[in-house]
Symmetry: C2
Subunit: 128 residues, 2 copies
Amino acid sequence: MRADYVTRPREAVAEVLRAERRFFSANEIHRALSRRDAKVSLSTVYRTLEYLYAKGDATVRRDDSGESTYMHCVPEHHHHHAICQRCGRVEDVDCDAIERFAESLRSIHGFELDGHRMEFLGRCRACR
Amino acid sequence: MRADYVTRPREAVAEVLRAERRFFSANEIHRALSRRDAKVSLSTVYRTLEYLYAKGDATVRRDDSGESTYMHCVPEHHHHHAICQRCGRVEDVDCDAIERFAESLRSIHGFELDGHRMEFLGRCRACR
DNA sequence: ATATTTGCAAATAATTTGCACGTAA
DNA sequence: TTACGTGCAAATTATTTGCAAATAT
Protein backbone atom coordinates (compact mmCIF):
# COMPACT_ATOMS: atom_id res chain seq x y z
CA MET A 1 0.00 0.00 0.00
CA ARG A 2 1.01 3.60 -0.53
CA ALA A 3 2.52 5.64 2.28
CA ASP A 4 0.31 7.99 4.22
CA TYR A 5 1.88 11.28 3.24
CA VAL A 6 -0.38 14.23 3.84
CA THR A 7 -0.35 16.30 0.68
CA ARG A 8 -2.34 19.11 -0.79
CA PRO A 9 -3.76 17.00 -3.66
CA ARG A 10 -4.82 14.24 -1.30
CA GLU A 11 -6.53 16.65 1.04
CA ALA A 12 -8.24 18.36 -1.86
CA VAL A 13 -9.62 15.14 -3.35
CA ALA A 14 -10.75 13.87 0.05
CA GLU A 15 -12.49 17.16 0.71
CA VAL A 16 -14.54 16.96 -2.48
CA LEU A 17 -15.46 13.40 -1.62
CA ARG A 18 -16.52 14.28 1.91
CA ALA A 19 -18.69 17.15 0.77
CA GLU A 20 -21.59 15.02 -0.49
CA ARG A 21 -22.78 11.52 0.24
CA ARG A 22 -22.86 10.26 -3.33
CA PHE A 23 -20.58 8.61 -5.88
CA PHE A 24 -18.14 10.80 -7.82
CA SER A 25 -16.23 9.90 -10.97
CA ALA A 26 -12.54 10.81 -11.26
CA ASN A 27 -13.51 13.35 -13.86
CA GLU A 28 -16.11 15.05 -11.71
CA ILE A 29 -13.57 15.44 -8.95
CA HIS A 30 -11.00 16.74 -11.36
CA ARG A 31 -13.41 19.30 -12.76
CA ALA A 32 -14.56 20.32 -9.28
CA LEU A 33 -10.97 21.00 -8.27
CA SER A 34 -10.15 22.81 -11.49
CA ARG A 35 -12.95 25.28 -10.83
CA ARG A 36 -11.41 26.19 -7.48
CA ASP A 37 -7.86 27.22 -6.78
CA ALA A 38 -6.83 23.62 -6.07
CA LYS A 39 -5.79 22.18 -9.44
CA VAL A 40 -4.78 18.54 -9.26
CA SER A 41 -3.84 16.47 -12.31
CA LEU A 42 -6.30 13.87 -13.45
CA SER A 43 -3.81 11.06 -12.96
CA THR A 44 -3.26 12.16 -9.38
CA VAL A 45 -7.00 12.13 -8.85
CA TYR A 46 -7.02 8.52 -10.05
CA ARG A 47 -4.06 7.58 -7.86
CA THR A 48 -5.57 9.31 -4.87
CA LEU A 49 -8.91 7.56 -5.28
CA GLU A 50 -7.11 4.25 -5.44
CA TYR A 51 -5.20 5.24 -2.32
CA LEU A 52 -8.32 6.26 -0.43
CA TYR A 53 -10.01 3.07 -1.46
CA ALA A 54 -7.08 0.94 -0.30
CA LYS A 55 -7.10 2.83 3.00
CA GLY A 56 -10.77 2.06 3.42
CA ASP A 57 -11.80 5.71 3.20
CA ALA A 58 -13.78 5.23 -0.01
CA THR A 59 -16.08 2.73 -1.71
CA VAL A 60 -16.06 2.08 -5.44
CA ARG A 61 -18.90 1.33 -7.77
CA ARG A 62 -18.97 0.91 -11.55
CA ASP A 63 -21.86 2.88 -12.90
CA ASP A 64 -23.87 1.64 -15.85
CA SER A 65 -21.64 3.32 -18.39
CA GLY A 66 -18.68 1.46 -16.92
CA GLU A 67 -17.10 4.44 -15.19
CA SER A 68 -15.66 3.86 -11.73
CA THR A 69 -17.21 6.09 -9.13
CA TYR A 70 -16.11 6.66 -5.56
CA MET A 71 -17.86 7.66 -2.38
CA HIS A 72 -16.37 8.68 0.93
CA CYS A 73 -16.99 6.12 3.66
CA VAL A 74 -16.00 5.19 7.17
CA PRO A 75 -15.13 1.59 7.94
CA GLU A 76 -18.41 0.01 8.97
CA HIS A 77 -20.39 -3.18 8.89
CA HIS A 78 -21.59 -4.79 5.68
CA HIS A 79 -24.62 -3.13 4.15
CA HIS A 80 -26.18 -2.19 0.84
CA HIS A 81 -26.99 1.00 -0.97
CA ALA A 82 -30.16 2.68 -2.12
CA ILE A 83 -29.08 5.11 -4.82
CA CYS A 84 -31.33 7.95 -5.88
CA GLN A 85 -31.46 8.08 -9.67
CA ARG A 86 -32.15 11.79 -9.64
CA CYS A 87 -29.84 13.41 -7.08
CA GLY A 88 -27.44 10.52 -6.66
CA ARG A 89 -27.73 10.59 -2.90
CA VAL A 90 -26.95 7.24 -1.29
CA GLU A 91 -28.69 5.69 1.67
CA ASP A 92 -27.44 2.68 3.55
CA VAL A 93 -29.69 -0.31 3.76
CA ASP A 94 -29.15 -2.73 6.57
CA CYS A 95 -30.87 -6.03 6.50
CA ASP A 96 -30.02 -9.06 8.51
CA ALA A 97 -32.85 -10.87 6.79
CA ILE A 98 -31.05 -10.51 3.48
CA GLU A 99 -27.80 -11.66 5.00
CA ARG A 100 -29.54 -14.75 6.29
CA PHE A 101 -31.11 -15.36 2.92
CA ALA A 102 -27.75 -15.09 1.23
CA GLU A 103 -26.41 -17.70 3.57
CA SER A 104 -29.27 -20.02 2.84
CA LEU A 105 -28.11 -20.15 -0.78
CA ARG A 106 -25.70 -22.78 0.32
CA SER A 107 -28.46 -25.21 1.13
CA ILE A 108 -30.73 -24.17 -1.74
CA HIS A 109 -28.19 -24.30 -4.55
CA GLY A 110 -25.22 -25.98 -2.94
CA PHE A 111 -23.52 -22.68 -3.55
CA GLU A 112 -20.60 -21.81 -1.29
CA LEU A 113 -20.94 -18.11 -0.75
CA ASP A 114 -18.00 -15.70 -0.80
CA GLY A 115 -19.96 -12.50 -1.04
CA HIS A 116 -22.93 -10.78 -2.44
CA ARG A 117 -23.78 -7.41 -3.84
CA MET A 118 -27.07 -5.60 -3.93
CA GLU A 119 -28.16 -2.23 -5.11
CA PHE A 120 -31.50 -0.54 -4.96
CA LEU A 121 -32.24 2.11 -7.55
CA GLY A 122 -34.99 4.66 -7.32
CA ARG A 123 -35.92 8.04 -5.90
CA CYS A 124 -35.15 9.16 -2.40
CA ARG A 125 -37.74 10.83 -0.19
CA ALA A 126 -36.60 14.27 -1.29
CA CYS A 127 -36.64 13.57 -5.03
CA ARG A 128 -39.82 11.58 -5.23
CA MET B 1 -33.64 -1.44 -33.28
CA ARG B 2 -31.62 -3.31 -35.86
CA ALA B 3 -33.28 -5.47 -38.47
CA ASP B 4 -33.40 -9.19 -37.98
CA TYR B 5 -31.20 -10.27 -40.87
CA VAL B 6 -29.86 -13.76 -40.44
CA THR B 7 -26.15 -13.60 -41.12
CA ARG B 8 -23.18 -15.84 -40.62
CA PRO B 9 -21.53 -13.53 -38.03
CA ARG B 10 -24.74 -13.29 -36.02
CA GLU B 11 -25.22 -17.04 -36.02
CA ALA B 12 -21.61 -17.59 -35.07
CA VAL B 13 -21.71 -15.18 -32.11
CA ALA B 14 -25.02 -16.56 -30.88
CA GLU B 15 -23.65 -20.07 -31.10
CA VAL B 16 -20.68 -19.28 -28.88
CA LEU B 17 -23.01 -17.61 -26.41
CA ARG B 18 -25.39 -20.55 -26.33
CA ALA B 19 -22.63 -23.07 -25.77
CA GLU B 20 -22.10 -22.29 -22.06
CA ARG B 21 -24.25 -20.74 -19.40
CA ARG B 22 -21.82 -18.04 -18.31
CA PHE B 23 -20.85 -14.47 -19.15
CA PHE B 24 -18.56 -13.88 -22.14
CA SER B 25 -16.67 -10.71 -23.00
CA ALA B 26 -16.61 -9.45 -26.59
CA ASN B 27 -12.97 -10.39 -26.73
CA GLU B 28 -13.52 -13.94 -25.55
CA ILE B 29 -16.11 -14.43 -28.24
CA HIS B 30 -13.87 -12.89 -30.83
CA ARG B 31 -10.98 -15.15 -29.87
CA ALA B 32 -13.24 -18.21 -29.76
CA LEU B 33 -14.39 -17.49 -33.30
CA SER B 34 -10.89 -16.76 -34.54
CA ARG B 35 -9.74 -20.18 -33.42
CA ARG B 36 -12.42 -21.82 -35.58
CA ASP B 37 -13.11 -21.22 -39.24
CA ALA B 38 -15.70 -18.54 -38.41
CA LYS B 39 -13.71 -15.28 -38.21
CA VAL B 40 -15.83 -12.28 -37.30
CA SER B 41 -14.44 -8.81 -36.75
CA LEU B 42 -14.32 -7.53 -33.21
CA SER B 43 -16.57 -4.59 -34.02
CA THR B 44 -19.15 -6.94 -35.42
CA VAL B 45 -18.98 -8.97 -32.25
CA TYR B 46 -19.74 -5.79 -30.32
CA ARG B 47 -22.57 -4.85 -32.64
CA THR B 48 -24.01 -8.32 -32.53
CA LEU B 49 -23.95 -8.45 -28.74
CA GLU B 50 -25.77 -5.14 -28.62
CA TYR B 51 -28.28 -6.54 -31.10
CA LEU B 52 -28.82 -9.73 -29.13
CA TYR B 53 -29.22 -7.73 -25.97
CA ALA B 54 -31.79 -5.42 -27.56
CA LYS B 55 -33.66 -8.45 -28.85
CA GLY B 56 -33.75 -9.88 -25.35
CA ASP B 57 -31.56 -12.85 -26.25
CA ALA B 58 -28.72 -11.81 -23.96
CA THR B 59 -28.10 -10.26 -20.55
CA VAL B 60 -25.24 -7.87 -19.82
CA ARG B 61 -23.11 -7.53 -16.77
CA ARG B 62 -20.09 -5.33 -16.11
CA ASP B 63 -17.45 -7.42 -14.46
CA ASP B 64 -15.16 -6.00 -11.82
CA SER B 65 -12.58 -4.84 -14.31
CA GLY B 66 -15.25 -2.82 -16.07
CA GLU B 67 -15.58 -5.08 -19.09
CA SER B 68 -19.07 -5.74 -20.39
CA THR B 69 -19.92 -9.41 -20.46
CA TYR B 70 -22.88 -11.12 -22.07
CA MET B 71 -24.78 -14.29 -21.42
CA HIS B 72 -27.37 -16.00 -23.56
CA CYS B 73 -30.84 -15.87 -22.05
CA VAL B 74 -34.46 -16.53 -22.81
CA PRO B 75 -37.05 -13.92 -21.85
CA GLU B 76 -38.10 -14.85 -18.34
CA HIS B 77 -39.24 -13.44 -15.04
CA HIS B 78 -37.06 -11.24 -12.85
CA HIS B 79 -34.43 -13.12 -10.91
CA HIS B 80 -30.86 -12.88 -9.66
CA HIS B 81 -27.61 -14.63 -10.38
CA ALA B 82 -25.27 -16.78 -8.38
CA ILE B 83 -21.95 -16.64 -10.23
CA CYS B 84 -19.28 -19.23 -9.61
CA GLN B 85 -15.95 -17.46 -9.15
CA ARG B 86 -14.04 -20.48 -10.42
CA CYS B 87 -15.86 -21.79 -13.50
CA GLY B 88 -18.03 -18.77 -14.14
CA ARG B 89 -21.19 -20.85 -14.34
CA VAL B 90 -24.31 -18.91 -13.51
CA GLU B 91 -27.31 -20.16 -11.58
CA ASP B 92 -30.57 -18.34 -11.32
CA VAL B 93 -31.82 -17.40 -7.93
CA ASP B 94 -35.50 -16.82 -7.49
CA CYS B 95 -36.74 -15.29 -4.36
CA ASP B 96 -40.07 -13.71 -3.79
CA ALA B 97 -39.00 -12.92 -0.26
CA ILE B 98 -36.29 -10.66 -1.61
CA GLU B 99 -38.72 -8.99 -3.98
CA ARG B 100 -41.00 -8.27 -1.09
CA PHE B 101 -38.13 -6.89 0.94
CA ALA B 102 -37.13 -4.62 -1.90
CA GLU B 103 -40.66 -3.25 -1.99
CA SER B 104 -40.65 -2.62 1.72
CA LEU B 105 -37.82 -0.16 1.21
CA ARG B 106 -40.45 2.35 0.31
CA SER B 107 -41.85 2.33 3.81
CA ILE B 108 -38.50 1.93 5.57
CA HIS B 109 -36.60 4.66 3.76
CA GLY B 110 -39.30 6.52 1.88
CA PHE B 111 -37.46 5.27 -1.17
CA GLU B 112 -39.49 4.96 -4.37
CA LEU B 113 -38.07 1.87 -6.01
CA ASP B 114 -37.39 1.60 -9.74
CA GLY B 115 -35.32 -1.49 -9.65
CA HIS B 116 -32.77 -3.50 -7.82
CA ARG B 117 -29.81 -5.61 -8.62
CA MET B 118 -28.28 -8.47 -6.72
CA GLU B 119 -25.44 -10.82 -7.31
CA PHE B 120 -24.15 -13.69 -5.32
CA LEU B 121 -20.52 -14.65 -5.72
CA GLY B 122 -19.00 -17.91 -4.66
CA ARG B 123 -18.41 -21.51 -5.70
CA CYS B 124 -20.98 -23.71 -7.32
CA ARG B 125 -21.61 -27.26 -6.21
CA ALA B 126 -19.18 -28.63 -8.79
CA CYS B 127 -16.32 -26.26 -7.99
CA ARG B 128 -16.55 -26.27 -4.25
C1' DA C 1 -32.75 -3.75 -56.39
C1' DT C 2 -32.23 -2.02 -51.95
C1' DA C 3 -31.85 -1.97 -47.12
C1' DT C 4 -28.77 -3.57 -43.82
C1' DT C 5 -24.74 -5.74 -42.03
C1' DT C 6 -19.69 -6.30 -42.22
C1' DG C 7 -14.73 -5.38 -41.98
C1' DC C 8 -11.21 -2.29 -41.43
C1' DA C 9 -8.93 1.56 -39.85
C1' DA C 10 -9.36 5.55 -37.26
C1' DA C 11 -11.61 7.97 -33.29
C1' DT C 12 -13.04 8.04 -28.31
C1' DA C 13 -13.07 7.54 -23.49
C1' DA C 14 -11.51 5.85 -19.22
C1' DT C 15 -7.57 4.61 -17.04
C1' DT C 16 -2.58 3.57 -16.36
C1' DT C 17 2.31 4.26 -16.67
C1' DG C 18 7.23 6.15 -17.13
C1' DC C 19 9.92 9.54 -15.74
C1' DA C 20 11.96 14.08 -14.26
C1' DC C 21 10.89 17.05 -10.61
C1' DG C 22 8.89 18.64 -6.19
C1' DT C 23 7.91 17.84 -1.33
C1' DA C 24 6.67 15.65 3.30
C1' DA C 25 8.99 13.37 6.81
C1' DT D 1 18.40 13.81 2.93
C1' DT D 2 15.65 10.68 0.75
C1' DA D 3 11.64 8.04 0.06
C1' DC D 4 7.44 9.00 -1.99
C1' DG D 5 3.95 11.84 -4.34
C1' DT D 6 2.96 14.77 -8.51
C1' DG D 7 2.42 16.48 -13.18
C1' DC D 8 2.72 15.72 -17.83
C1' DA D 9 2.74 13.28 -21.97
C1' DA D 10 2.56 8.92 -23.97
C1' DA D 11 0.68 4.13 -23.71
C1' DT D 12 -3.09 0.90 -23.00
C1' DT D 13 -7.74 -1.03 -23.03
C1' DA D 14 -12.48 -1.33 -24.02
C1' DT D 15 -15.56 0.35 -27.11
C1' DT D 16 -17.56 3.11 -30.98
C1' DT D 17 -17.82 5.06 -35.52
C1' DG D 18 -17.37 6.27 -40.65
C1' DC D 19 -17.39 4.40 -44.84
C1' DA D 20 -16.86 1.40 -48.90
C1' DA D 21 -17.72 -3.33 -49.98
C1' DA D 22 -20.45 -7.57 -49.20
C1' DT D 23 -24.86 -9.78 -48.38
C1' DA D 24 -29.77 -10.81 -46.98
C1' DT D 25 -34.20 -9.93 -48.36
